[in-house]
């Protein structure tokens, strides 16, 4: 019986080596069985390493993918509640891009070292994590990347934004893997105009990408705990993600 059929999985907190060799907390959800399985690094949103994003990691594991979510705020607030940690990280200026890439690289290495890994790894991120998924895919050699409503890729964030959140458009040429982008037509960060600019840039660079934008949905339409949740967009988005992962993460390397 396939893992997709049984949804058997297990999840636990582990320690991984992140940027600069720092030991950071991470949440690992993996399918039961020997595999081999593809894997994905789950990049949490700005509100942090929270319960709802851990649920996302478990959903990937129940569908047959190893999912590992590093706690990007571990250094600022080890052991803290996710909302306190997010506040501490915000007060400290946010997560620097270089550190993010190092943490994702560490998470990738952790997944690949698992006996049940097939050696293929993607990233997926939501909100600020969507931007960071794109950043990772233009900085590291990945097999696939998913960016869900990633603001700050095309236009700069507003004045007062923490740390060095530079636009990433000029990095498009460095994209190392197929990219799936999921957006809401009503979103302001990114706007549909920004999405169109990114699509044009990806086309010009000859990159493999597919974008889907949902009418009636704005930012954070996957987030079941918030009023922004849009069930039709979220269900179709999940289907798009699993179709994409099936094409790029399944099988052997």
């Amino acid at each position: 019986m396939s893992k997709e059929r049984t949804h058997d999985m297990r999840a636990r907190t582990v320690t991984i080596k992140g940027h600069g060799g720092d030991e950071i907390e991470a949440y690992l959800a993996e399918p039961e069985g020997d595999g081999p399985f593809g894997g994905t690094v789950v990049i949490h949103h700005m509100p942090g390493y929270d319960r709802s994003t851990k649920e996302i990691a478990r959903r990937f594991a129940s569908a047959g993918y190893i999912a590992l979510m590093p706690n990007l705020y571990h250094r600022e607030a080890p052991g803290a509640d996710p909302d306190d940690a997010a506040a501490a990280a915000r007060a400290a200026g946010g997560v620097p891009d270089e550190r993010l890439v190092g943490d994702v690289a560490g998470a990738m290495a952790y997944i690949k070292a698992l006996a049940k890994s097939n050696g293929k790894v993607a990233t997926i991120g939501y909100c600020s994590g969507g931007r960071q998924s794109f950043l990772s895919a233009t900085s590291l050699q990945l097999d696939a990347a998913v960016a869900c409503y990633p603001g700050g890729v095309v236009n700069p964030p507003p004045p007062g934004a923490p740390v060095n959140f530079k636009p990433l458009l000029e990095r498009t040429k460095d994209l190392s893997c197929p990219l799936l982008g999921l957006f809401g037509d009503e979103d302001k960060f990114p706007t549909p105009e920004e999405v169109a600019i990114l699509a044009k840039e990806l086309s010009s660079a000859g990159k493999d990408y597919e974008f889907h934008s949902y009418p009636g949905a704005g930012h954070a339409f996957f987030d079941v705990d918030r009023p922004s949740y849009r069930v039709e967009a979220a269900l179709d988005g999940w289907a798009k993600i699993f179709d994409f992962f099936g094409r790029h993460l399944d099988g052997s390397k």
């Binding site: 509640d81 909302d83 506040a87 915000r90 007060a91 964030p157």
Partner: protein, 86 residues
């Protein structure tokens, strides 16, 4: 959307967090996702003392009209304090 925008304010005063009263050092003020308030966005204030760790925090999430009313009330109280100290 994640607005990213954050105003940082240095403070002198005290707040009551999960472990009791502590001295405040600063506040982060931002319009972004709430953790608990039933809206997509809210005006959020984190009263902090980072030297005491991440739990030294008093958090509020306000709808924008409430935030404006609160700001006016704070200004009125501060004006009164200034008048009484003259």
């Amino acid at each position: 959307m994640c607005t990213y925008h954050t105003e940082h304010v240095k403070l002198a005063g005290s707040g009551k967090g999960p472990e009791g009263w502590f001295s405040l050092a600063e506040a982060s003020v931002y319009y972004d996702h709430p953790v608990h308030a039933p809206s997509e966005h809210s005006v959020n204030v984190d009263f902090l003392n980072r030297s005491l760790g991440p739990r030294a925090r008093v958090a509020v999430e306000l709808d924008p009209a409430s935030a404006r009313d609160l700001a006016h009330a704070l200004l009125a109280a501060a004006e009164q304090a200034a008048a009484l100290s003259r």
